[in-house]
C-alpha cells in the first residue's frame, strides 16, 4: 500500500496533466459542438453522425475530467488531513477542494445537458456554454493567479483566457480530426475547415495575449526566463507552441485552397491535426509541471547566470570510463556503517532508505558515474539514429537496429541506480519506493517496449499498421514524461542546470516520435521528408546526451 502511494506521488504531476487534457477536450468539445457541428448539421452530409460523435467524445472527456479531478483532489485532501490533523469537512472547505468539487459538478451536470432531450430545446447551446464557463472559472482558482499577493483579478482573468485559448484550439482538435475522418466531400471539408480555422485563430490570439501578460507578471525579466526552472519550462512551452503554429499554418493553406476550389490534400490536414493533438497534449504536461514550480519573479536568489550556463556547457570529451562503485557516496557510507557495526558486533544499518524523502548524499564520483551513464546512453542513441538513417538510405540488413534499444535498456537498468540491485545493497523490490528509481525503471520499460515493437515491425513479425504506431507513440510519450522528470538533487541551481539539457532532450524526443508518426501515416513527399527527420532527431538526442554534464 505504501508502495502504491509513493508511486502515486510521482503521478501527481502526470495526474494534473491528464486533468488539463480532459478539461480542454471537454471545453473544446462544447465549443466545437455549439459553434461548428450543430450549426452545420443540415448543411453537410453526415452532419448528424458528426454531431453524435462529437457529443460522445465530449461526454467521455467530461467523465475523464471527473475521474482525474477526483483522484487528484482526493489525494491532496488526504495528504492535508493526515499532515495537519484536520477533519474531512474542514479540508473540504479549502479553496482548492471547493474549486475541485465545482469542476466535478460542472462536468457531471454537462452529461444530461448534452443528452438528446436537452439538445433539441432552445437552451441547447446556452446550457453547455454556461457550464463550461463555470468549470473554467473554477479551474482558474487552482492556478498561481489565485495565490498571488497582488493583481489577482487581472491574473485570474488572464489564466482563464489562457485555458480558454487552449481549449478552443488544442482541445477541439480531436473533434476536428473526427470530422475530417467522417466527412468525404469537398463541400463539407470547406465548411468545416473554414470555421475551424476561424476558431483556432481566436484560440491562438487568446493564448498569445494571455501568455504575454503572464510572462510579464510571472517571469519579469530576461534572466528569469533562462535562469529559473519556471522560465525554462515556459521556453519549452513556447517552442511547442511554435511547432503547433507551423502545423496550423500548413492546415490553413489547405483550407484556403479548398475555399478557392483548388486541389488540396485533406489527408495532410488530417495527419497534421493528429500531430497537433500529440504536441498539444505534451504542452499540457509541461503546463502541469509548471504549476509545481514557483514563478520566476519570486526566485530572486538561486538563479543561474549566463556565465554558469556557458561554463557548464563548454565542450568536453565524454566520460567513457566509469568510476569505481566502491567510491560512490552511498557505498562509502555503507562501508563505514558496516565497519562500525562489525566493531559493535551488530547488523549494519542500510545507508540509504528508499522513499524516506531524505536526499541521498552525492560526491564527485557520483557525478562521474551519472555522466558516464548519460554519455554511453548518448552513444547508443546516436548509433541508433545513424543506423536508422543508413537503413533508410537502403542498407537492408540494418533493419535490426531497434535491438540496440534493448541493449541500452539493460545498460540503464543496471547502471542508473548504483545503490540498487544488482550493483548495490538495496533489494530490487524495496527500491520501487524511491521516486527516482521508479521513474528510471519506467523509462527502461518504455525503451524496451518500443524497441521490441519497432524490431518486430521492421522484421515483419508484426504486420498490423497499428503495431507500427506503437514506436512513435511511446517515443513521444517518453519525451513528454521527460518534461515532468526531475533529478532529486538538493541544490536548486544544479537541478536547473540539468533541466536545461533535459528540456531540449525532451523536445527532440517528442519531435522524433511525431516525425516517425508522419512518416508512417502521411503518403507522398511529406512522409518521405519526415522519414529523414526523425533519425536526425534521434542523433540530436544522442549529441545532447553526450554533451550532458553535472559539474
Amino acid at each position: 500500500m505504501e508502495l502504491l502511494v509513493d508511486i502515486f506521488g510521482y503521478l501527481s504531476i502526470i495526474l494534473h496533466g491528464v486533468t488539463i487534457i480532459a478539461q480542454s477536450m471537454m471545453l473544446g468539445g462544447i465549443l466545437f459542438l455549439v459553434f461548428l457541428a450543430r450549426p452545420f448539421t443540415h448543411l453537410i452530409t453526415q452532419g448528424d453522425d458528426l454531431e453524435r460523435r462529437v457529443t460522445r467524445l465530449t461526454l467521455y472527456s467530461a467523465i475523464g475530467l471527473i475521474l482525474a479531478e477526483m483522484t487528484g483532489v482526493g489525494l491532496q485532501i488526504a495528504v492535508v488531513m493526515s499532515t495537519v490533523d484536520l477533519g474531512f469537512l474542514d479540508v473540504m472547505q479549502a479553496p482548492f477542494a471547493i474549486a475541485g468539487t465545482v469542476k466535478m459538478l460542472c462536468a457531471l451536470l454537462l452529461i444530461p445537458c448534452l443528452g438528446q432531450r436537452v439538445a433539441t430545446r432552445s437552451l441547447a447551446a446556452v446550457l453547455p456554454l454556461l457550464i463550461g464557463a463555470a468549470e473554467l472559472t473554477a479551474a482558474t482558482f487552482t492556478t498561481h493567479a489565485y495565490a498571488r499577493l497582488d493583481d489577482n483579478v487581472l491574473l485570474l482573468f488572464v489564466e482563464g483566457l489562457h485555458q480558454f485559448g487552449a481549449a478552443i484550439w488544442v482541445g477541439a482538435i480531436p473533434c476536428f480530426v473526427l470530422a475530417l475522418g467522417r466527412l468525404h466531400d469537398a463541400h463539407s471539408w470547406r465548411l468545416v475547415g473554414a470555421r475551424f480555422s476561424r476558431m483556432s485563430m481566436i484560440g491562438v490570439t487568446s493564448i498569445v495575449i494571455s501568455g504575454a501578460v503572464m510572462s510579464f507578471f510571472y517571469i519579469g525579466n530576461w534572466q528569469g526566463f533562462y535562469g529559473t526552472a519556471y522560465g525554462v519550462m515556459v521556453g519549452a512551452k513556447i517552442a511547442m507552441f511554435l511547432a503547433l503554429l507551423a502545423l496550423g499554418a500548413g492546415n490553413l493553406m489547405v483550407t484556403e485552397r479548398l475555399r478557392k476550389n483548388q486541389d488540396a490534400s485533406v489527408i495532410r490536414m488530417r495527419r497534421f491535426a493528429e500531430v497537433e493533438i500529440g504536441i498539444g497534449f505534451t504542452l499540457f504536461f509541461a503546463a502541469a509541471s509548471l504549476t509545481s514550480v514557483p514563478p520566476a519573479v519570486d526566485l530572486s536568489t538561486d538563479r543561474v547566470t549566463l556565465h554558469e550556463i556557458a561554463v557548464r556547457n563548454a565542450p568536453a570529451w565524454p566520460r567513457l570510463t566509469s568510476p569505481d562503485h566502491d567510491k560512490l557516496a552511498i557505498s562509502q557510507m555503507q562501508a563505514r556503517l558496516d565497519t562500525q557495526a562489525q566493531q559493535r558486533g551488530q547488523v549494519a544499518a542500510q545507508a540509504n532508505v528508499p522513499g524516506s524523502g531524505v536526499l541521498p548524499p552525492r560526491n564527485a564520483d557520483d557525478i562521474a558515474w551519472s555522466e558516464y551513464n548519460h554519455h554511453w546512453a548518448g552513444i547508443f542513441v546516436l548509433l541508433i539514429g545513424f543506423l536508422a538513417l543508413l537503413h533508410r538510405a537502403g542498407v537492408g540488413w540494418l533493419k535490426h537496429w531497434p535491438l540496440l534499444f534493448l541493449l541500452m535498456a539493460g545498460f540503464l537498468l543496471v547502471r542508473s541506480d548504483p545503490e540498487v540491485w544488482p550493483m548495490g545493497n538495496e533489494g530490487f523490490w524495496v527500491a520501487w519506493r524511491d521516486v527516482e528509481v521508479t521513474q528510471h525503471r519506467f523509462f527502461v520499460a518504455l525503451i524496451m517496449l518500443f524497441g521490441l515493437f519497432e524490431w518486430a515491425v521492421r522484421t515483419g513479425r508484426l504486420r498490423s499498421a497499428k503495431a507500427a504506431l506503437v514506436f512513435p507513440l511511446l517515443v513521444s510519450v517518453g519525451g513528454a514524461m521527460l518534461l515532468t522528470h526531475n533529478h532529486q538533487i538538493s541544490n536548486v541551481k544544479d537541478q536547473l542546470l540539468i533541466e536545461l539539457t533535459h528540456t531540449p532532450l525532451a523536445l527532440a524526443g517528442v519531435s522524433a516520435g511525431w516525425a516517425r508518426w508522419l512518416e508512417l501515416r502521411l503518403p507522398g513527399r511529406g512522409g518521405r521528408i519526415a522519414g529523414w527527420v526523425w533519425p536526425i532527431c534521434f542523433m540530436l538526442v544522442g549529441v545532447i546526451l553526450l554533451w550532458y554534464r553535472e559539474a
Partner: protein
C-alpha cells in the same frame, strides 16, 4: 497496529513523496524570523514566516523539532492582514532547534521546508 494508524503512516509517506517531488515547489519561503541557521536569545520568541504567495493559515502547520527529535506543534495565529505569513511563537530554552513548516498555498499547492536555528542563553 490499528488500521487507522497504518492509514496515517501511509498518508504521511504520501505527503513526504509529494513534498520531496517538488524540491523547489510552489510556495517558497522568502523571509523568516528566525532566519536559516540564525541565533536567538532564550525566552519568548516570536516567529514569522513570509511566503511568496497567499497561504491558507488554518490548513498549514508549524512544528518545532528539539535536539532530541521530539516535536511540538505550534499554534499559527490567524492574520488576515498578512495573507502570505505564518505567525507563531514559543518559549525556548537554550539549544538547537528546527522549525519544520508545511504551507498550503491558496491555490492548493503544498510545500514544506526546514529552518534550523540556535537559542543561546
Amino acid at each position: 497496529m490499528s488500521l487507522r494508524h497504518h492509514f496515517g503512516t501511509f498518508l504521511i509517506a504520501a505527503a513526504c513523496t509529494v513534498a520531496s517531488l517538488s524540491a523547489s515547489a510552489h510556495a517558497i519561503l522568502i523571509d523568516s524570523t528566525p532566519k536559516l541557521n540564525d541565533t536567538v536569545s532564550a525566552g519568548h520568541v516570536d516567529m514569522v514566516f513570509t511566503y511568496n504567495s497567499k497561504i491558507d493559515q488554518h490548513r498549514s502547520r508549524i512544528v518545532l523539532v528539539k535536539e532530541d527529535k521530539s516535536e511540538t506543534v505550534l499554534t499559527i495565529a490567524a492574520n488576515n492582514t498578512k495573507p502570505n505569513e505564518l505567525d507563531t511563537h514559543a518559549d525556548l530554552t537554550p539549544g538547537t532547534y528546527t522549525i519544520r513548516w508545511q504551507a498550503l498555498a491558496l491555490d492548493g499547492h503544498i510545500t514544506r521546508g526546514d529552518v534550523p536555528f540556535t537559542v543561546t542563553p
